[in-house]
């Protein structure tokens, strides 16, 4: 039997969407949270206060601290505080200390002394999860990149399948069961399509060296570091000369960068062989300075004399294209308003996947509306839908609850927050298996509503930085997190109440639905 091109595409859309939808939902939701990575970290480490500080002063503080505590170390790292990041982070290699021989500290930008903040991954956890999926390297990256490919495929096949893309461009008809789900799915997909296409295509660009490494390995073999050095103009650092030479003051190097390119914000600083005559200092431009994520925007100085040794290579057209896709994906350049829009478009992507999963099941459930039990395979999809969507929301909420409730002295506290995340996710799966579909949805959404809505209260009770304080002192990051949690709670409560109130959509919509069905036959999805 020969089927049409559009039917074939619809089939592909339906089945790849189902198989990868659950994972894609999690990738999109955690990726969306990542647009507020620094803000989430700010909330999860309330001990770190933000103070306005001159970059030169911050650098001076970092240098003083590292000189006093890590003079023998081979490498120092400094991460500057910014509008979004309160912390001045310093790190250094120390063969005898820390995890994997690396020590990192957070300095208070007023005193220059380390802050004893609670151990938490914060926003970094969601960021890492959304492309590594808590799997060993490189499998998580491969799988998530493959999911991005499926998303791109889903978008293209979706466009082909969608018959009335222009005729129904402005169409959303709520309160009509399956029809409304399809309208919603199509509308969020089409209206935010530039974002969806950008985000899935750029994921492939971000990991192109991982998924299509043949060109690189043909020239460089296994020495991929040399490839990146050649590409981005990184210099080979000479070995320490074992001749002591005081490190040039870092604020002076910062001033040199400002003279070369006024207004530059510096993100990271790396010092090799500090205190040696072969010291090298590399200052990298903050990713917030350009739309394109320019990995080669850096300046390398001789750490002993303070002479400028090299600047990142000028970018070719191909590199700038790749950097632009990377920059658009990550949105480091976005100010507060654009960041919020990024966040909402991310939620839109999540919603496209979620509505698709719900529709797949809804269509097939209609055929079994009379019988009391769903066939095995549909029940499996139902359970996975519930656990992957409302279950994930519960897991996210649990992560934040664990952040406030786990004792600060607990060994491996940061790991335990992550454990709580996965344990809650697992429990929600068990719950979805035990309860009937609608009840499971309603109960998990209601619990999620409570968990999110009460987060501001929990914050106020366990820290001194609740809404009362944050609104008064103008700490908009803290207040923004609390208010967003509250809004999420209200939204989930609304969803839960919809699940509780209308046991059968069909009964309520009969008159209008019947009239509709006569005039416009539902299209294939």
């Amino acid at each position: 039997m020969k089927e049409g091109f559009r039917q074939a595409m619809a089939w592909l859309h339906t089945w790849t969407g189902l198989l990868f939808g659950w994972l894609l939902f999690a990738i999109f939701l955690t990726g969306t949270l990542t647009y507020f990575k620094d803000e989430i970290t700010h909330w999860t480490q309330p001990e770190i206060r933000s103070h306005a500080v001159e970059p030169a002063r911050a650098l001076d503080m970092a240098q003083r601290y590292l000189q006093a505590n890590a003079a023998q170390s081979s490498t120092w790292f400094i991460r500057m505080p910014s509008d979004r990041e309160a912390a001045l982070s310093v790190g250094y290699r120390d063969p005898n200390g820390g995890r994997r021989g690396f020590v990192s500290k957070t300095l208070d930008t007023q005193t220059g002394q380390p802050v004893e903040a609670r151990d938490s991954r914060g926003g970094e956890f969601f960021y890492r999860f959304h492309f590594q999926l808590q799997m060993p390297h490189p499998f998580g990256r491969w799988l998530s990149t493959f999911c991005a490919l499926i998303m791109l495929l889903g978008l293209v096949t979706g466009i082909i399948t969608h018959k009335k893309i222009f005729k129904e461009f402005f169409t959303f008809r709520p309160g009509k069961g399956q029809r409304s789900w399809l309208d919603g799915h199509n509308a969020i997909g089409v209206l935010v399509l530039p974002f969806h296409l950008m985000i899935s295509y750029s994921s492939l660009v971000l990991f192109m060296y991982l998924v299509m490494p043949a060109g690189i390995t043909a020239h460089y073999g296994n020495d991929t570091e040399k490839y990146f050095n050649d590409l981005f103009g990184g210099d080979e650092t000479p070995a320490a000369a074992q001749v002591a030479a005081p490190l040039t003051p870092l604020p002076a190097l910062y001033a040199k960068v400002q003279a070369l390119q006024p207004g530059t914000r510096v993100g990271n600083i790396r010092v090799e062989n500090p205190g040696d005559s072969n010291a090298r200092v590399t200052l990298s431009q903050s990713a917030a300075d350009h739309v394109a994520y320019r990995r080669s925007a850096n300046w390398t100085f001789d750490g002993a004399s303070g002479a400028l040794l090299g600047q990142g290579k000028p970018e070719s057209g191909a590199m700038m294209t790749a950097f632009s896709f990377a920059g658009l994906h990550m949105g480091n350049f976005a100010g507060p308003w654009l960041r919020w829009l990024y966040f909402f478009f991310g939620l839109a992507g999540t919603a496209v996947i979620g509505t698709g999963l719900v529709m797949w099941l809804g269509k097939r459930q209609l055929k079994h509306a009379k019988s009391s039990h769903l066939p095995m395979e549909l029940r499996l999809v139902e359970v996975l839908n519930i656990a992957s969507m409302s279950g994930l929301l519960l897991a996210v909420a649990s992560f934040f609850w664990a952040n406030r409730l786990l004792p600060a002295t607990l060994e491996g506290r940061g790991d335990w927050e992550v454990n709580v995340f996965f344990i809650s996710w697992g429990l929600s799966l068990v719950h979805a298996v035990l309860r009937s579909g609608r009840r499971a949805w309603a109960e998990q959404l209601a619990l999620g509503a409570l968990a999110f809505a009460l987060l501001p209260l929990l914050n106020a009770l366990t820290t001194e930085r609740g809404l009362g304080n944050s609104l008064q002192t103008g700490d908009w990051t803290m207040a923004g997190f609390d208010l967003t949690a509250l809004a999420s709670g209200v939204f989930l409560a609304w969803l839960a109440s919809k699940m509780l109130r209308t046991p059968k959509v069909a009964a309520k919509r009969t008159p209008r639905a019947a009239r509709n069905a006569a005039t416009e036959p539902a299209e294939a999805s």
Binding site: F169, R173, H290, V291, F345
Partner: protein, 108 residues
């Protein structure tokens, strides 16, 4: 950015009204001859105007990105609020036609 957002929002409102089905649903009457065409032209002109202003004010890199963001946000707001608050959206579109260029003008 707000000025451009309002102009783009008004542009999409005009493009939506340029479709006969939406015109009669929203305004409760049949369009006069030529009216739909005029709305269509006006809609596209508003969208192009917001693009030109955005690039002019913010440069190519930021201008293009912000323009893409505000038009997506504007049209999504329009489509999903329309079934619930059509009158409010029509008023908002009318205000946007006036306020958008005004705000964009002051931002220069």
């Amino acid at each position: 950015m707000l000025g451009n957002a309002l102009i783009a929002f008004a542009g999409f409102a005009a493009l939506c009204l340029a479709m006969e089905k939406h015109f009669s649903d929203l305004l409760g009457r049949k369009p006069r001859p030529g009216q739909l065409k005029a709305l269509q032209v006006a809609g596209w002109l508003l969208l192009v105007l917001s693009l030109v202003l955005s690039v002019h004010l913010r440069g190519w890199a930021y201008g293009l990105v912000e323009w893409a963001a505000v038009i997506m946000a504007g049209v999504t707001l329009w489509v999903f609020v329309l079934p619930y608050q059509p009158r409010l959206l029509l008023k908002l579109a009318a205000v946007s036609v006036l306020m958008g260029p005004l705000l964009a003008l002051f931002a220069v």
